[in-house]
Amino acid sequence: MSEKLVVDVLTLDAVQCAACQYMFEAISALPENIRQHVEFKEWTIKNPEGINKFLELNGKVLPTIAIKGELIFESIIPTFEELLDALEAKAPEALKAEIAKVREQQG
């Protein structure tokens, strides 16, 4: 497997908070062929690791999706196309090819 694109989802708690739940689901429900090239993780601010990640990324609001260390979607759950665009902008070649396949399938 080639290099994976790192996606961090900063949340209050995806179980407890519906906004966080669906921000996280935007990533976790990506098509399988894309997910295989993405290393994604939820960072809840309810534990020290999550707080450290929030500080490391200079997080401002919850929930937020960060792609390759950059805060991209802050308190806005993206459409599928917006998310694909954002992933593609930072994707390694293998992931770009998978994104292209998904777009082709969607017409």
Binding site: Q16, C17, A18, V61, S75, I76, I77
Partner: protein, 309 residues
């Protein structure tokens, strides 16, 4: 403990002192030594927990539940129960089916989890003191998210007819939830739509505002007090929240309190917040006492209710 004080604040009126509402939720279960999943399925425990919380916190109002999964689960959404949290919906019946194919029906007081909620509410109403019982129901966009999953956030931009069909259905569910809380006797009934902070203002106006109107009409025709609860950084949709038609709103710790106060005063609305749920109450990084003082200093005494954010 003073119900009228809270009702006045929730309607945007000046108050001689600041009323206080702890959104106790499943914390009520913790306080009476019960697990959340057991508590939420037993009307006697819910009543015991809510009554205890009201006394313990010297509250002017307490929600009967703070659980946005009641409606979805009462329509058959798959969910996972937790011992220390409300349940979470994990299956979305409209993810790959239409409303007709999924055969979803608006849940009534006799369906799903509602009988437990109704029984608990009646027990609380029969025993409570001078404080307001608050009925909080799942707002239309959060409910649409439960039913359709994250696809709804693409639908509201790319597939508007489908999004409108789902939101129209959710509006009917919300109105029925408002009727159920009305019939329990709740003095305050609030639409709780946390994911409405995660969309653009024009999407809010097109989908959320209309989907709230029938429920708001139910609340106001029964002479109950209405509110709209929103979470997260809702800055971009706050003008829309103020114009949704409720008598007030509540916000979370991420919002700037002086901005919120000025907005509420401009529209003549009640507003609640915004103790730092995470930084102060949960993690203790910020001193909760200092945090409360800051909130109260910023909130003032016109329409303001101190509450967790």
């Amino acid at each position: 403990m003073a119900m009228q004080l809270l009702l006045d604040a929730y309607q945007g009126k000046p108050t001689p002192k600041v009323p206080w509402v702890p959104y106790a939720g499943v914390h009520c279960a913790y306080m009476i030594g019960e697990k959340a999943d057991v508590y939420l399925q037993d009307p006697d425990l819910i009543a015991k927990g809510v009554l205890y919380a009201a006394e313990r916190y010297k509250a002017d109002g307490v929600p009967l539940l703070f659980d946005l999964n009641v409606e979805g689960m009462s329509m058959g959404c798959e969910a996972t129960w937790y011992p220390d949290n409300p349940p979470a919906i994990t299956g979305h019946p409209l993810a790959d089916k239409t409303l007709a194919e999924a055969n979803l029906k608006v849940p009534t007081a006799a369906d799903g989890r509602w009988p437990v909620v109704v029984a608990a509410g009646k027990k609380v109403m029969a025993q409570k003191g001078d404080w307001a019982l608050m009925g909080l129901f799942c707002g239309p966009l959060t409910l649409a998210s439960h039913l359709r999953g994250v696809k709804i956030f693409t639908d509201v931009i790319k597939n508007k007819p489908l999004a409108h069909e789902i939101m129209d259905f959710c509006a009917q569910v919300c109105a029925e939830s408002a009727r159920i809380y009305r019939d329990i006797g709740c003095e305050i009934i609030a639409i709780v739509d946390p994911v409405a902070s995660q969309i653009r203002p024009e999407t809010f106006r097109e989908f959320v505002t209309p989907a709230c109107q029938e429920a708001i009409k139910v609340i106001h025709e029964a002479n109950r007090v209405s509110s709209f609860f929103i979470c997260g950084d809702a800055t971009k949709v706050m003008e829309e929240v103020c114009q949704v038609g409720t008598q007030g709103f509540a916000i979370d710790e991420q919002m700037n309190m002086p901005y919120i106060r000025d907005l509420a005063v401009k529209y003549g609305l009640g507003f609640g917040g915004n103790l730092k749920l995470t930084l102060a109450l949960s993690l203790g990084i910020v001193d909760p006492r200092e945090d409360a003082i800051v909130s109260m200093a910023a909130g003032g005494m016109t329409g303001f209710t101190l509450a967790p954010g």
